[in-house]
Amino acid sequence: MKSYVFSTASAIAVCAAGAVFADGHAEAEVLHYWTSGGEAKSVAVLQEEFAANGGTWTDMPVAGGGGDAAGTALRARVLAGNAPTAAQIKGPAIQEWFEEGVLADISSVAEANDWANLLPAAIASHMQCEGTWCAAPVNVHRVDWIWANTEILAANGIEMPTTWEEFNAAADKLQAAGIIPLAHGGQAWQDATVFETVVLGVGGADFYQAALVDLDQDALTSDTMVAVFDQMRTMRGYVDDNFSGRDWNLATAMVMNGEAAFQIMGDWAKGEFMAAGKVPGVDFSCASTPGDGYLYNVDSFAMFSVDGEGKEAGQDLLAELIMGPNFQEVFNMNKGSIPVRTDVDLSGFDACAQLSAADMASTNDGGTLKPSYAHGMALFGAQSGAITDVVTAHFNSDMSSADAVQMLSEAIANSM
């Protein structure tokens, strides 16, 4: 059944692609959750390009809950048999939706534009469902960043740490000087963000793959994982006592104001620094968290099976524009992420973005480019949620590392 639907859909798409572009009937209803200031501006870029190419764009922004509300709206629409043309979905959720049999095939556009060679292999695999292309990637956020207040580091004679031992030594020094070493917000996803960077740093990329992507029980219960939780316990000591429930941008503000020295957060934190008029390299420093590797968080649009030539033409046009070099450049400059295409000129981007792009290319070659589990790129919701529960329970209590590892292994088994 599935394959029948998809072969038909792709056949129609192939026929429609060339013909309807010229007609200007392309239409798209796009469900997304880019509603905050900078994000809304970014999505407007796509909207304008779509209109400039003769398409009719129906915007369906759903704010709230980091995409939870949009997910609920999407489920309701799909259940009612009235799916939007395109929806902002990412990571394994694309495969989950594909398994429900509701995604359309955009292989014709992808193949015509040679996406397979433009995208890093790891990222391209997320956009493909059983060999067909079913989603278009928009940007790459790097998650394993450590941000620092340059002035504080200089005043205390500290370099950006390249190992966790160095980080701990630097943090001890800062604490002795009366500065909060690590600005952190005690929300489960932020705990998970720090955790995954520690897993990557302490265990390496292969361990990360085994533990947080393949959910290998041996890796989850290994001594390395105990060491990861030990490091988390150490880091809990570097966070101020009032961190519970703090939003990530308030933690970023602590680094900006000199209250705290470091923050571990994805590159959306850069947007906060930039918005406050801070200059990378001068007011704040960016570096990858200790250890080798790169954790990516890629936003993407999945196309849904819809009826009507105009809508199918809209999907093809949308997919083409999303991956277009112009949109990739303008959008990502607005949003603080980097283009997912490897051939975009980065001269207009800031130093942190250029570092991110260079690291993405090198880690892709080295096989250490890994999906972020904390941001829903590596696992289905049930499994990633189960890990996050353990991580946040450990970080917010005095649980021992051995107990945490035991609990982690049970939680994973229970979530299957």
Binding site: A188, G245, G381, G385
Partner: protein
């Protein structure tokens, strides 16, 4: 025709709401029960697959925390709100001059939504902004009141905020009850020289038994449904230390794409409500039959 209409008018008038209740309450309860027996993930699926979701629920440490919290929160909230409400009502019942104004003041928190209550208490209890910072600012440098960020104590902040919100309402219920007690009996007792506290403990309060039951039922279902207060006050944190079954259900259904788990936890919540409401209904119906 007119005759038929006259005979059937009540049924016709009631039919739409009856149908709506059947579909939107009982129909969806049945749907949830069905889904709770499946392996539904992102979208509901309908192939029944044993009690796997309930087994997962039983071995989930997070749901265990949520249920424990529900009992701590429910018990403390109901008992303290009722005791406080009764005390306030008795004090207000002493024929004091500004009763109207005071009653309004105590009832006023009820006018706020739980989200507002939660946000306000979040600031009051925040160690860096609220009570702790203020008292330390007065010079008591060792003063500590950090329940909100202490995983072992955070659930009590939820109790605190909920009591603040609801005890005024309980007071109003009890006040109505106190006023409904026959003046003659009280006067007779006073003539006999019985002290006021005995009048309350032996006459007035026992005759208010139905009000206690109503207050209990209202508070119990508020406790079990509690969701917005936790979300606004602690967000379920620190960690998941203040999770309640309702927030667990929400997380599973809307963040995790695990509808089967959400449905089974919703069924467990419903059973808890039934455990409280069914005996109540049973006793109500039986007294009517007698």
């Amino acid at each position: 025709m007119t005759r038929w209409l006259q005979d059937n008018m009540p049924k016709i008038v009631l039919a739409p709401s009856f149908i709506a209740v059947m579909v939107f309450v009982y129909g969806f309860i049945a749907w949830t029960a069905w889904v709770s027996l499946t392996r539904s993930r992102l979208m509901p699926r309908y192939e029944i697959d044993s009690f796997i979701q309930y087994e997962r629920l039983a071995s989930s440490p997070r749901f265990e925390v949520a249920m424990t919290n529900l009992f701590i929160f429910g018990a403390l909230f109901i008992v303290i709100a009722m005791v406080l409400g009764l005390l306030l009502a008795i004090l207000l019942d002493q024929k004091i001059r500004t009763e109207g104004a005071i009653r309004t003041i105590y009832l006023y928190p009820m006018a706020l939504s739980m989200i507002v209550t939660g946000t306000a208490w979040k600031w009051i209890l925040n160690p860096e902004l609220g009570i702790e910072a203020t008292v330390q600012g007065w010079g008591f440098a060792n003063f500590e009141f950090n329940w909100l960020v202490d995983p072992d104590m955070a659930i009590y902040t939820v109790v605190l905020a909920a009591i603040w919100q609801s005890s005024g309402f309980v007071m109003a219920l009890f006040l109505a009850g106190l006023r409904s007690v026959d003046e003659e009996i009280i006067k007779a007792a006073q003539v006999d020289g019985i002290p006021t506290w005995r009048v309350y403990s032996a006459i007035i309060i026992p005759s208010m038994a139905p009000i206690f039951l109503s207050a209990f039922i209202v508070l119990a279902h508020l406790a079990i449904k509690s969701f917005d207060l936790v979300i606004a006050l602690t967000g379920g944190g620190p960690g998941y230390a203040t999770d309640l079954p309702a927030t667990y259900m929400y997380a599973m259904a809307f963040s995790r794409g695990d509808i089967g788990q959400a449905a089974s936890s919703a069924m467990v919540m419903m059973l808890v409500v039934f455990a409280i409401v069914v005996p109540y209904l049973y006793s109500e119906l039986r007294t009517k039959d007698d």
